[in-house]
């Protein structure tokens, strides 16, 4: 694994941006791909995080604090060492219809891969809708970026509500976020799934998701799937 030194952090409550200096290269990371990030001791599992942005061995992640590893990242002083490997998973661009434009629908930390997508493929982006619960999230984003935020606390609307106003058949949807959000999207949407992962490379069979074509692996076959292919009851 590659050593990754925590260089910068910017936190607002349970969300934060974390920039790591890598002592090695990520090879041509694409949007939708993720890294497996590991702390030096606890937890012992490496866990998946989508690439928010990557440049010159500087990797930025957008992380929601939910448990042990994310908790540790939040409380680490600058200079703390982590380990990463990747990029793993398939680039979104390899799985979607390349002729379309897309509305990027993000919920919470699901915004991470969508940001990287819009950095790498700006011409394919029709609109960005990034949903969050609380206004506190604003302070993490620049004024320009804030235009894409849909904050429930302020507008009493979710991204799905707003999506209804802009959506039309010829535009694709590329979404990443919590399951309840994904379930409310049109059937043809591309949805980026999460699952508990062990290896991140397709060997351990931890990240199973049931589809109409049988059990698939989020890390090896995804993370992006057509919404209509997923057997949601299994999740």
């Amino acid at each position: 694994m590659i050593e990754a030194e925590l260089k910068e952090k910017k936190i607002s409550k349970d969300y934060g941006f974390f920039t790591f200096k890598l002592y090695g290269d990520l090879e041509n990371p694409e949007a939708g791909q993720f890294v497996m990030l590991k702390a030096s001791d606890e937890p012992i599992l490496a866990k998946p995080f989508s690439i928010y942005s990557y440049k010159n061995r500087e990797l930025t992640l957008f992380i929601k604090r939910v448990g042990r590893l994310t908790g540790k990242i939040f409380s680490s002083p600058i200079g703390e060492m982590f380990y990463i490997r990747g990029p793993h998973g398939n680039p979104y661009i390899d799985l979607i219809d390349g002729e379309k434009q897309y509305i990027l629908v993000g919920g919470g930390s699901g915004v991470a891969p969508l940001n990287f997508f819009s950095e790498l493929h700006p011409a394919m982006v029709y609109e960005k809708l990034y949903g969050f619960k609380g206004s506190y999230i604003r302070e993490l984003f620049t004024e320009k970026e804030q235009k894409n935020l849909i904050i429930e606390e302020e507008s009493e609307k979710t991204v799905v509500d707003v999506l209804k106003d802009v959506y039309s058949e010829e535009i694709g949807i590329l979404a990443c976020g919590p399951v309840p959000m994904l379930k409310n999207l049109p059937a043809t949407s591309y949805v980026s799934l999460e699952a508990m992962m062990g290896c991140g490379i397709g060997t351990c069979k931890s990240c199973a998701v049931k589809t109409k074509k049988g059990v698939k692996l989020v890390c090896k076959n995804g993370p992006l799937f057509r919404k209509e292919e997923i057997i949601w009851e299994w999740i």
Partner: protein, 309 residues
């Protein structure tokens, strides 16, 4: 000034003692970009059952302090799929291949043993008597009589070396181990995941759908190590030590307790480069201690330690 890491067991020469445990690396192919198989002693392939299995509903993995609880449920293509799709590709893996099978009835064991015996690339057969993740099934290795029956059946069907994979969390592992060896096992794998669970405090429900799963990782190391030690004290057969080996120190501990081969499960799942790191560490340790071959440290904890030699 090289040290000799090779071991001869089961009439086979392993280039070094580090092998991949069954499961976490599947059939190994996806791991090839990350690990040069010519550097490791062997791979034990994912356990194969008679019928294809889609595995348990998610979540299939949850971690705890020092460990990982898995509940994969033996997702595999079944023996037919294995013979047709996997077996022909096995020669791509440049190391010794150990096949792993698990039957749910004596008839199933019989077919599985027969089919595995036929595959040329498979040099050794591991019989998985201890999978903790199958709904409604007790583990064979909890019971000496069942262990005996299964080993005897497989023994009849193959001339290849067979290894019984035992559960670490039984009252008396020596009893089960003796039974397996008396029934014809050429060696033992100790151990598999220990039955374990976590509860989601927010919902009040077990996190895993089958409630319990198998705990591996450094948390269980001292427990499984003690089982290897006790078994080796009582029996002189080759043992594959598996359970929480994360670094070269852990590997050496297992060797000193009596294991000839050292299997990595969680470690290689977390970090595909772990085997290489561990092999380097073992080598450096032996060099520092001026011990010319790995063989010399196997079981030394039973023989007065390192300084006696």
């Amino acid at each position: 000034m090289g040290v000799d890491l090779s071991i001869d067991v089961f009439g086979i020469k392993f280039r070094n003692p580090i092998i991949l445990a069954s499961g976490p690396v599947g059939f190994g192919f996806e791991l090839m970009p990350y690990l040069d198989f010519s550097n490791i002693g062997a791979i034990t392939l994912k356990t194969v059952t008679l019928k294809p299995r889609e595995g348990n509903p998610p979540p299939r993995l949850v971690d705890s302090h020092g460990g990982v609880i898995n509940s994969i449920g033996l997702q595999n293509p079944g023996i037919e799929g294995f013979v047709e799709e996997i077996a022909p590709r096995l020669k791509e893996l440049k190391t010794i291949k150990i096949g792993s099978i698990a039957g749910f009835s004596m008839d199933e064991w019989e077919i599985l043993g027969e089919e595995m015996d036929k595959i040329k690339e498979i040099k050794i057969i591991e019989i998985n008597l201890s999978c903790p993740n199958v709904k409604g099934k007790r583990r064979w290795a909890e019971d000496a009589k069942l262990t005996e029956k299964v080993v005897k059946i497989v023994r009849k069907l193959t001339g290849k070396p067979i290894i019984a994979k035992l559960a670490p969390d039984v009252t008396d592992i020596v009893e089960i181990a003796k039974t397996a060896v008396d029934a014809g096992a050429d060696g033992l794998t100790i151990g598999n995941g220990a039955q374990a669970m976590r509860i989601d405090v927010e919902t009040g429900l077990p996190i895993l759908k089958l409630k319990t799963g198998g705990l591996g990782g450094p948390a269980v190391k001292p427990i499984t190590l003690a089982k290897v030690f006790k078994t080796r004290e009582a029996l002189d057969v080759p043992i594959i030590g598996i359970g929480g080996i994360m670094n070269w120190q852990d590997a050496i501990e297992y060797a000193m307790a009596g294991a000839s081969l050292l299997g990595l499960g969680t470690a290689v799942m977390v970090d595909p480069e772990a085997p290489v790191r561990i092999i380097e560490g073992i080598k450096a340790f032996l060099e520092r201690k001026k011990i010319e071959s790995f063989n010399k440290i196997i079981g030394v904890a039973h023989k007065g330690g390192l300084n006696v030699h």
